[in-house]
Symmetry: C2
Subunit: 274 residues, 2 copies
């Protein structure tokens, strides 16, 4: 099943727009997890088991694995989700971007080695740099548009063609680049006004929205600004606030409580519940 | 020694602006290499042994390793260069870019796990996204400015503040972002006119110039456009044209011949030889 359809089914089945970011930080693991052979995998497995019925996606962020030489635990994590909870789509947050021949290598890494359902990519190098990803028609390709960090404004707010660069990226994505219907955008939860502008440009295109929780994005504002008429269209991602809700052995139960709280908080402001 | 100084020494010691891109493609390896236990490492080792006195840097492109689950062979390759030819700097071509806390994880990957002397990063997310890299003052941080691919124009040529975006990036890098003196830029060899503009903006800042060889950049034009008054300032990278100059068992000797040819061709047009 194509990523976009898998996502739509997960929104509905779990009545949730929440995506849990799997950003393992071993220094924040409980002792009982840290002492295991594959601590990252064990931590993720516990989080996934505790939250799978409350989410529309999981989003492992690859730097957290690469910094620890833990590629194999990323592979095991993704394989575990695919085997145990096959209806939950997996977004590999990798923000790749390179020229065509190398972009193909990155697409092989993300879609074949890790078998992710979707990936985040940077638009700076232009269309031919993400075309190799878009050719995997059953996968999602999520272009950075307006990111959640303070420095986002440095380039993304520069005015081009009478609009800020991030709106230009949204316009190109909606009108030109989405040739296979598998293109999405990243828009930080910290910018509800910009999110509303982007929603106006891209129609029903799903948006990945990181930045609630630790980064402080306001849930009500972002849901009102970003949802589609159907009350969906958003993949609202939280990582640290969920993963490290408790530093004790009850971390998975605490993660479930936080995920449920975020889901319910989001659902209060949705136009239509699925 | 800081990357910038190591680079300047290598320019001079080997009288060369050539960087060999270590982009292993196992499907193009000779049978005798392909059949070994660590084919990528063996291939790289042979290339490095054959070219180390002709180059100013090596540039492994990480996707070529990640697509093959060959992170350990990338580690071995870098360790081999550091041990055997410690004067040759290593640029890890990874084009990373993410928000601050995750950027730190990528910096750990690149500068601690792989111990690279320099890295390529994307500027799309703004200053705070590459600040964690810049804080490693003895390493080089090479921002994408005008890339070698055809699609580069999609965003990089958009006019902002009466200049194309790539010139804005060069201006910000030269005037604002280079707080620790370890910032460089990527400018494709395929765009000599843009290279000249960028050289005018950034003074003596070194530029990484990929795109000669397989991508067709014109050596004379790029050297004339990009060199500093001292006849340096450029890291001219070629990968496929050198690595796959021969598909037989003489691939390393053929790589040496191609590297020497490119070095001499470049040196013909340098203002001052070191």
């Amino acid at each position: 099943m194509a990523f976009i359809d898998k996502l739509a089914r997960a929104w509905k089945a779990n009545n949730s727009l929440v995506c849990v970011g799997l950003d393992p930080d071993t220094s924040r693991f409980p002792e009982s997890v840290e002492s295991q052979d594959e601590p990252i995998y064990e931590f993720n497995k516990a989080i996934i088991d505790a939250t799978h019925d409350l989410v529309c996606a999981y989003k492992p962020q690859i730097a957290h694995y690469a910094a620890e030489s833990a590629e194999s635990q990323l592979e095991s994590t993704i394989a575990y989700i695919k085997t145990t909870y096959p209806d939950v789509p997996i977004i590999l947050d990798a923000k790749r971007g390179d020229i065509g021949s190398t972009a193909q290598m990155y697409a092989t890494e993300v879609f074949e080695r890790y078998a992710a359902d979707a990936v985040t990519v940077s638009p700076y190098l232009g269309f031919d740099s993400f075309e190799p990803f878009l050719k995997y028609k059953d996968r999602g390709v999520i272009l950075l548009c307006r990111t959640s960090n303070a420095g986002a404004a440095d380039l993304q707010d520069l005015m081009v063609d009478a609009m800020p660069l991030y709106e230009k990226v949204a316009t190109l994505a909606a009108q030109k680049w989405n040739v296979n219907g598998n293109c999405l955008l990243v828009v930080g939860a910290t910018w509800p006004a910009q999110l509303a502008k982007i929603r106006g440009i891209v129609g029903d295109m799903p948006l990945l929205v990181p930045g609630v929780g630790a980064q402080g994005g306001d849930v009500e504002k972002l849901v009102r600004a970003g949802q589609t008429k159907a009350g969906t269209g958003l993949i609202i991602s939280s990582s640290r606030a969920i993963l490290y809700a408790s530093s004790g052995d009850d971390f998975a139960q605490a993660a479930r409580r936080e995920t449920e709280k975020l889901r319910d908080q989001i659902n209060q402001h949705r136009a239509v519940l699925s």
